[in-house]
Amino acid sequence: MRTLGRVVLGLIYLFLIGPFLVIIAAAFHGGDTLTFPPHNLSFRWIIAVIENDDFQSDFLLSVALAVAATFAALALGIPAAYALIRHRPRGAETIRGLLSSPVVVSGLVIGLALLHYVVVPLNLPVMVALFVAHTAILLPYAVRVVSASLANLRVDIEEAAVLLGASRLKMFRSIVLPNIRNGVLAAAILSFITSFNEVPASLFLTGPGVHTLPVEMMLSMELVYDPSIAALSTLLTVATLVIVFAAERLLGLSRYV
């Protein structure tokens, strides 16, 4: 039973992780068309992808978008999470439901609705449209993760600070924030990754010539048969591995997922 269990578990993990190993191997094929197993191993396509101007500008746009949307979602989400946990206002559950609602709806629907009823009527530039959508999509994660770390924070140290004469704002800055620092960092990392990887909402909101990196990858997948998409996927996979591994070591990221 034990051995059988181990074999089954090993096979399931092979199914979960295996494809990433395959694409990493495929990225080092030296030929002109994507083949597996790879031969003439080379860094040709990895270098080609890094030096590609289009991919570079898409990458920078995706990073800028993810950073901006993460800050906005945290700026909106941290105060809301704090008020809901500490003051437990009437209707707290309804407010929580409202704030987490974007996560249950398909990104395509969010993108379509924003495009037709906000972006086009207000004539918003592509970057602003993406920022508006991504902030709404990240807010549920920010509220949930920050709430979880606030729930473990003792309320009496906050009361002590206020009784000793600290203003509410000073109390929040010098007592609450340092204590939920790990939760806020975890929320920031999860938000950044979510925004950087987002495709469905961005599909409708990107304009001609302005694409996020994953949307550009989606679109060129059908046109490109060389290993460049595999090389790009490999770079993203390795970068994510490094970030997640570091975050797990420093913050225990998996507790917040």
Binding site: G18, F36, V104, H116, L203, V257
Partner: protein
Amino acid sequence: MERDGGSLTTRAMSASGRAVAILVTPATAYVTLAFLLPVAVLIAGTFQPNGALSVSGYARFFSEPLYLEALWRTIRIGVVVTAICIALGYAMALAIVGAKASARGQLIGLTILPLMISPVARTYAWVVVLGHSGLLNGLLVALGLTDQPFRILFTEGAVYVGLVQLFLPLMVLPLVSALENLPADVISAARSLGAGWGTVFWRVLLPLTREGLVIGGTIVFNGTVTAYITPAVLGGTRHLTLATLLYQQVAVTDDLLSAGVAATILIAMSVAASMVLRRVAATRSRLS
């Protein structure tokens, strides 16, 4: 004295009410304006295709064989993927909870890893594995099991494979926390009293982990029916789901009314799934 106390409490309460309003309003206003209202207008628009109230958009949607096929395929994929994830999820969660404490953290880390990696990279990896001259067909030909490569990519089966890989971690995590909360030795107690593994699962494990099962199941079902990248890349254009149909209606045929109807049906499914979740959460807070 009493009046002072009263006014003090009222003042404190209204101060805290104002604080709550200041802290919460930016977030609620943002979600309302950037998400709720546009989506509500989109839904309302599907009932007034030409300005007047009408369900003609829905009548057209439900009389078009291609659209109905996409709807049934979406529901079928949702049910099958959720069922597979539940079966594999229990196997994984039991193994993770049964592992040594040191290995447990690493196994959970390995479980969440695929969730973090770019879904486009993840899906493209399946193209390399399942494609016409991909890894799997290469293996089958090399082993002499077939002369001609199979068509695996661009089938409904490929969509199942991709979606199970994507959503299995989201089934495992709630099951692991449900199993961790189980009273110690409940399984070995049932075993020593003579219950077979089947009885242990149906009579002991399932009822005690029902909450984790429902939470994971609704997340997986909702994620599966709304998924876009996986059916678009692995299913191809001949195996449309509601999500890929919606994209085509906007990007290719410019049929905004049908796209709105598809969007509304998708939202109805998501709302139904999250209502199931709510009910479970409500039962839990009543019990505790």
